[in-house]
């Protein structure tokens, strides 16, 4: 691949602190971490001043919407890759709800190829579970798995695979190629025209409720199905305390279930909907502070394996309108790490090793993203993010790399800044800017 041909032979990351621990020089040779040397001893043609920066394995996002093909006005693989790299990512999984839907080998190969051309992160396409996300007929899962894109994660995200038989078959079928079904858990009948979390506030605001039970009932069914057929299940964007309980129960019984939570569900609550500003409209919806606390706890104790962004860019006209007409979704790639630092690290719920696990190691393992989440250690692929843990920054959506502007964090001061990123030994971000 072309980027490897241009990678400098040796790079030294001087004075970095792997997982926030003791300072070392990280010596990278031929795309691999050659050694962790005492600080100040490594030498090379390219030396990056990483004095005091925290070194983590490059982040892996299991849930991104890059909108290409079809909605290139909102995002492209290229612009989404830029946002991902600047956010500290070296790999992202691109969801299948594009136009056309990524339900054939042709479309997933196109997305894979666009990712390689952009050359900033590995873009792993997610394959649709059903044809056209229609929920009635299995897509050609095997063809996508066997394509150049080597798809291992399948999801109808945006829609729920609500038919129990179809879900069972999908769970069974992907075992043949070590795949996983990532379920967007939303009982459709209980959420018709749903606009926000169902509770006291939805009643007051007169917005149709999206009840927690619509998520929890599907997760309960799916963990039982996964158990029954002995398959892997991944639950997308867990948002309620009840869902955390069900997943904890399933894991205790040895069921092979993994789960993700989004940064926005870790930081924001439904109270923001009082403004009727559609930048806070997202699916699943922002929940209550009690749910947020349960998500913190679940992520800390490993019930929830992964933080995934659900980065969902939308064109201005789809957000600059009344609540009911607005699209669901928020930007997330460039703010995810900072939000996790704020909600999990600074509060002592996770240490840096924990952050690395939830944002790199676990998602790479679940998605079978080979060469990612390998850790900051000798012999590992040199996909590394260097973070300034002391810096703070104020989010300005105009300054983000995404084509869209729908960040719910506008004006918020967040901790921790991505300074440098290496992907397989090649510098993709230097001093907070994309390397040319």
């Amino acid at each position: 691949m072309s980027h490897e041909a241009t990678a400098p032979e040796t790079v030294v990351l001087r004075g970095a602190r792997p997982y926030g621990e003791d300072q070392v020089d990280i010596v990278v040779r031929d795309g691999v971490i050659a050694e962790l040397a005492p600080p100040g001893t490594g030498s090379a043609a390219v030396v990056v001043d990483a004095d005091g920066l925290v070194a983590l394995p490059g982040l892996v996002d299991l849930h991104t919407h890059l909108r290409e093909p079809g909605r290139e006005d909102a995002e492209t693989v290229e612009t989404g890759s830029r946002a991902a790299a600047l956010g500290g990512y070296t790999a992202v999984f691109a969801m299948a709800n594009t136009l056309p839907v990524a339900d054939t080998a042709g479309v997933v190969e196109q997305v894979w190829r666009l990712g390689q051309e952009a050359g900033l992160v590995d873009v792993f396409p997610v394959g649709a579970v059903t044809v056209g996300l229609g929920g009635t007929q299995l897509a050609e899962l095997g063809a996508m798995a066997g394509s150049a894109a080597r798809v291992r994660v399948f999801s109808d995200d945006g829609k729920c695979v609500h038919d129990a038989v179809l879900m069972r078959r999908a769970l069974e079928y992907v075992k043949a190629f070590d795949g996983v079904i990532a379920q967007h858990a939303q009982e459709p009948r209980l959420t018709e025209d749903a606009q926000m979390n169902e509770g006291v506030l939805s009643g007051v605001l007169g917005l149709t409720g999206w009840p927690a039970v619509a998520e929890e009932s599907v997760i309960a069914r799916d963990v039982l199905l996964a158990h029954h057929v002995g398959s892997r299940l991944h639950v997308c964007h867990v948002s309620t305390a009840g869902s955390v309980d069900i997943i904890r129960w399933a894991k205790a019984r040895g069921i092979e279930v993994t789960a993700e939570v989004t940064p926005h569900h870790l930081l924001l609550t439904e109270d923001l909907v009082r403004s009727y500003d559609p930048v806070y409209k997202v699916n699943p919806p922002l929940r209550t502070s009690a749910d947020v606390e349960a998500l913190w706890e679940g992520l800390a104790d490993g019930t929830i394996d992964v933080v995934a962004t659900d980065h969902a860019p939308h064109a201005l006209e789809d957000k600059d309108c009344e609540w009911g007409a607005a699209a669901f979704g928020m930007l997330g790639l460039q703010t995810a790490l900072s939000v996790v630092v704020q909600t999990m690290l600074l509060t002592g719920r996770l240490d840096w090793r924990g952050v690395a696990d939830r944002m790199s190691v676990a998602p790479a393992r679940i998605g079978r993203a080979h060469g990612h989440g390998a850790g900051v250690q000798r012999g590992a692929t040199a996909s590394i993010v260097l973070v300034d843990p002391e810096a703070t920054w104020v989010v300005d959506p105009e300054g983000l790399a995404s084509k869209s502007r729908n960040s719910p964090y506008r004006g918020m001061e967040l901790p921790a800044q991505v300074r440098h990123v290496l992907r397989a030994g090649r510098i993709t971000v230097r001093d907070g800017e994309l390397a040319s």
């Binding site: 939805s202 009643g203 007051v204 009727y276 500003d277 006209e317 609540w323 009911g324």
Partner: protein, 312 residues
């Protein structure tokens, strides 16, 4: 007061000021002049994304009696029906120099968005948004209650008001619970559990599933419109069962204290939530509600625009 988006925007003092102003304006227009010069040269736009002739006419009469220029901008037969966005419509109105926009919209929160998104500078009056609120309806109901049961002055301390029907989908109920509670009334909501919003137990009111338990201790009963089609979404088994359990008929009218009045925001579904006999009885004050609606809307426009000439 810069906008009127929710009944919660009004504290007791502000609400009583609106009611007192409405009473004064009603007296003046009753007595002699049909038109006051107060809002001469100001432009009020009625922006209706949803059909409601009665509310639109009420606001139009109110604005005209204050000598304002009125522009009716209706969803049907204008660019709105072709899918022009709320934002583009707002920018057009701003260019026309609207001093106040009276908005009726099918989406909850649309008036709030119009007032806060920075698209327009004028005052925004919520004339009913989705299943959220309808604050001027609550004001006219409070005005009517006060006139009949509190001598036309002050607040509504201790007044027992029972609101019956489809609370879940009712913007009238939401605004009334907020405003009447602010004015000191004891409000009881009566509905089948399917037609009560999640979290209603946290509202400043009592909740009952039994109309017959509530009526004998009511000074006023307000019947909400219930669409028979709700049965198709399983909110109740049939129109007949609803009507039997929650409709106001002659027998139930007899259970009310003698001084109690019957209200309805209109349009009525005779035979569904209210029998024709009750609707036409001398206890029903629906016609007066319509009249009071004009006075209250005059007061709202007057207070939003009248005192601020030359501002901005």
């Amino acid at each position: 007061m810069r906008h009127l988006l929710s009944a919660a925007d009004l504290d007791a003092e502000a609400a009583i000021l609106v009611l007192d102003t409405a009473a004064e304006l009603a007296a003046v227009t009753d007595r002699s002049v049909k038109k006051l010069p107060t809002l001469r040269g100001r432009t009020v736009v009625n922006l209706f994304f949803e059909d409601s002739t009665r509310t639109r006419i009420s606001f139009e009469m109110a604005a005209k009696r204050l000598s304002a220029d009125v522009i009716n901008f209706a969803a049907k037969g204008s660019s709105v029906s072709k899918g022009e966005s709320l934002k583009d419509t707002a920018l057009t109105l701003e260019a026309m120099g609207a001093d106040a926009v009276v908005i009726r919209h099918h989406a909850s929160g649309a008036p709030h968005r119009l007032a806060t998104a920075g698209w327009i500078a004028g005052a925004v009056v919520n004339a009913g948004d989705g299943t959220h609120e309808h604050p001027t309806q609550a004001l006219l109901d409070a005005f009517t209650l006060r006139r009949h049961l509190r001598g036309g002055t002050g607040g509504l301390d201790g007044l027992r008001v029972t609101i019956v029907g489809d609370v879940l989908h009712s913007r009238v109920a939401r605004s009334n619970v907020l405003l009447l509670a602010t004015l000191g009334a004891d409000v009881t909501l009566v509905a089948p559990p399917t037609l009560l919003p999640t979290g209603v137990h946290e509202w400043p009111c009592r909740v009952s599933y039994d109309i017959d338990e509530a009526l004998p201790s009511s000074d006023a009963v307000m019947m909400l419109r219930v669409q028979a089609e709700r049965m198709h979404d399983a909110y109740f088994p049939s129109a007949r069962e609803y009507s039997r359990a929650y409709g106001l008929d002659r027998d139930r009218l007899g259970a009310l204290p003698d001084h109690a009045i019957v209200m309805h925001p209109g349009p009525m579904n005779r035979g569904m939530e209210i029998s024709a006999e009750v609707a036409d009885s001398d206890r029903a004050v629906m016609v007066e509600q319509v009249t009071n609606g004009v006075s209250v809307r005059m007061a709202v426009l007057y207070l939003l625009l009248g005192g601020s000439t030359g501002e901005k």
